[in-house]
């Protein structure tokens, strides 16, 4: 599998990371080196093997579906880059 510049640009877009056009060829090359390394996995016979979900065979614990915590607005907002009137503030989301 060879990654071209268009694919690299698409992956950057999906990852929500801005990559300038002139940096895309080098990025595509790095992807190719890493994916080339990963492709060794194709040698392994995985017929009938279930993909691992958890290393420990234990059921996910459940709790009562009740509120356990809350009323921490000030703490939740304490680290926000921009918070106003008790909300997180962001640029315009809808046109």
């Amino acid at each position: 599998m060879s990654i071209d510049v268009a694919t690299a640009a698409k992956v950057a877009k999906l990852a929500r990371i801005k990559v300038e056009d002139d940096a895309l060829p080098a990025l595509a090359q790095e992807f190719n080196a890493i994916l080339g390394f990963i492709e060794q996995l194709e040698e392994v016979d995985v017929e009938g093997v279930e993909p691992m979900v958890s290393v420990t065979p234990m059921a996910l614990p459940r709790r009562e579906d009740v509120v356990t915590d809350g009323n921490q607005q000030a703490k939740v907002l304490a680290n926000a880059p921009d918070a106003r009137e008790g909300f997180f503030s962001v640029p315009k989301v809808v046109e």
């Binding site: 999906l14 990371i17 234990m58 703490k75 680290n79 926000a80 880059p81």
Partner: protein
């Protein structure tokens, strides 16, 4: 008593209990050592006032007769752990200015046991790296140097600051985290002991997530006994982490008898790699002989899927990282990029993440995005998870056949020069070749210093144990440590 900062946890604990020293004395000795060691780049955020406050409180507790093992012991905390009111930024620009309103379970357990936090320790950005060269704070440096050279060496990664601080006696011990070898590889590079517990032993709550199915916190210490003491204080069930296991935590220290008569040590043939340095071969053979002399039975074993551990890791870890790191978008905490007029929310995300994440983190997030994307999910991600199941099965079969622990080298070489391997990511990934299988299988592993290379640099061996049997594993490590008699320390140049 001189050089209080050079004490082990065990020695300091005993001296505190007899009243021979105070925690304030110990803490001040460490703070002086830290201030004289900026050249090591080990501490990213120093918290001297907080430390002295906690030390004074610990002294009161001890005087009142309430002295848990870690009470009054000065430790460093890796920057990956969220610590209440203290900067915690996982060595990333994207968490600049972040001061958590909460304490991670593991650092909280240490705090509640009376341990004294000296500050936050340097690391690779988001724990992604094997040389501590991806940190926004700059490199951490190994206190050891090769022969007469003054070249700066890596302390390993990602827990490079932790390893450097423990080796240089800036603290009595430190916390680390290990996703592919990030406790054991730096321990081996600095002549210290690093324990990666069984997956689920230490709560991951409040530890900045890298790859959730692999990450595990553990102690980085000067001796195996200290790893037993500090490890016990860090472990235990936590309802806030759904992968935290509900197992009792025994008193590991009382299990350190040094008696390994009759236990079976497996030597896996697949860890004998092409081009492995003769020194590593010899180290491994010497360690095997030491355990045999101590009465252990040595058995050749096979772990046939070892070769595929690194490629599987470099699918699974980036996949999980791409998901975990999606939360860093400039909205709720940390860094937000300056926006141009007309920029909307997508531009805010893209610019914030481009400016906030370093090159290696961006690379791994994008690789993870790719292997999880439509059309490639089965070919890469699901295949890697199937291979992971086979790697775990290899270990299960060996343990079922009566092997108690497995002995391997910890690293393929001694510490290398900073700047030497950064150009080729795949080359850098090979540093974790002996450690990464343990994370994929969720097993406990410990690195023990057992020798020096021809340049006088420390080398370590790794012991891998059965799940939940850290006590037995540490006892075997204790026997190896005793037989190896490693006592060398770096010569002070900083």
């Amino acid at each position: 008593m001189s050089d209080l900062n050079a004490l082990t946890i065990a020695a300091a604990r005993d001296a505190l209990r007899t009243g021979e020293v105070t925690s304030v004395d110990l803490t001040q000795a460490c703070l002086s050592a830290i201030d004289a060691a900026d050249a090591l780049g080990a501490f990213a955020h120093k918290t001297p006032e907080l430390a002295l406050e906690r030390a004074a409180a610990a002294d009161k507790r001890i005087a009142a007769g309430d002295a848990p093992d870690m009470c009054g012991i000065p430790v460093g905390i890796k920057d990956l752990f969220c610590t209440e009111g203290v900067p915690s930024q996982a060595a990333s620009k994207i968490l600049e200015g972040f001061k958590p309103e909460y304490e991670s379970t593991v650092s909280g357990k240490l705090r509640d046991a009376g341990a004294v936090m000296l500050g936050k320790l340097n690391m690779d950005e988001f724990a992604m790296g094997s040389s501590n060269e991806t940190s926004v704070y700059g490199n951490a440096v190994n206190p050891w140097r090769a022969g007469n050279s003054d070249a700066a060496l890596t302390p390993g990664g990602s827990s490079g600051g932790s390893a450097s601080a423990v080796a240089a006696d800036l603290c009595l011990a430190a916390t680390g985290t290990d996703t592919g070898g990030s406790i054991r590889q730096p321990a081996a590079f600095t002549g210290t002991v690093g324990l990666k517990p069984t997956y689920g032993r230490c709560s991951r709550w409040g530890i900045v997530a890298f790859a959730s199915s692999l990450d595990q916190a553990g102690p980085m210490t000067k001796t195996v006994r200290d790893a037993a003491i500090m490890g016990r204080a860090m472990m235990g069930h936590d309802a806030k982490d759904s992968t935290s296991a509900n197992h009792g935590v025994p008193d590991f220290e009382s299990m350190l008898t040094g008696n390994v008569k009759g236990i079976v040590i497996g030597i896996p043939k697949e860890y004998r790699m092409d081009g492995m340095p003769a020194e590593i071969e010899k180290l491994w053979a010497d360690g095997t002989a030491m355990l045999k002399d101590a009465g252990a039975e040595i058995r050749d074993i096979s772990l046939p899927h070892t070769k595929y551990a690194l490629p599987a890791y470099y699918v699974i870890a980036p996949a999980e990282a791409s998901s975990n790191l999606a939360r860093y978008d400039g909205v709720r905490f940390g860094y937000r990029a300056k926006l141009a007029p007309g920029d909307g929310i997508t531009e805010m995300y893209e610019k914030t993440r481009a400016e906030g994440f370093g090159a290696e983190v961006q690379r791994r997030v994008m690789v993870g995005t790719y292997v999880l994307s439509a059309g490639f999910y089965d070919a890469y991600y699901n295949r890697a998870r199937r291979v992971r199941a086979l790697i775990k099965r290899d270990f299960d079969e060996v343990f079922a056949a009566g092997v108690d622990a497995i002995l391997t080298p910890a690293t393929p070489s001694a510490a290398f020069e900073l700047g030497k391997q950064v150009s080729d990511p795949v080359e850098m990934y090979l540093n974790d070749v002996f450690t990464v299988t343990v994370n994929l299988a969720g097993l406990p592993g410990v690195a023990v210093p057992t020798g020096l290379d021809r340049d006088g640099l420390p080398l370590g061996l790794q012991l891998i144990g059965k799940p939940w049997e850290e006590g037995e594993l540490l006892n075997t490590a204790y026997a190896l440590e005793t037989a190896a008699g490693f006592v060398e320390k770096p010569t002070r140049w900083w």
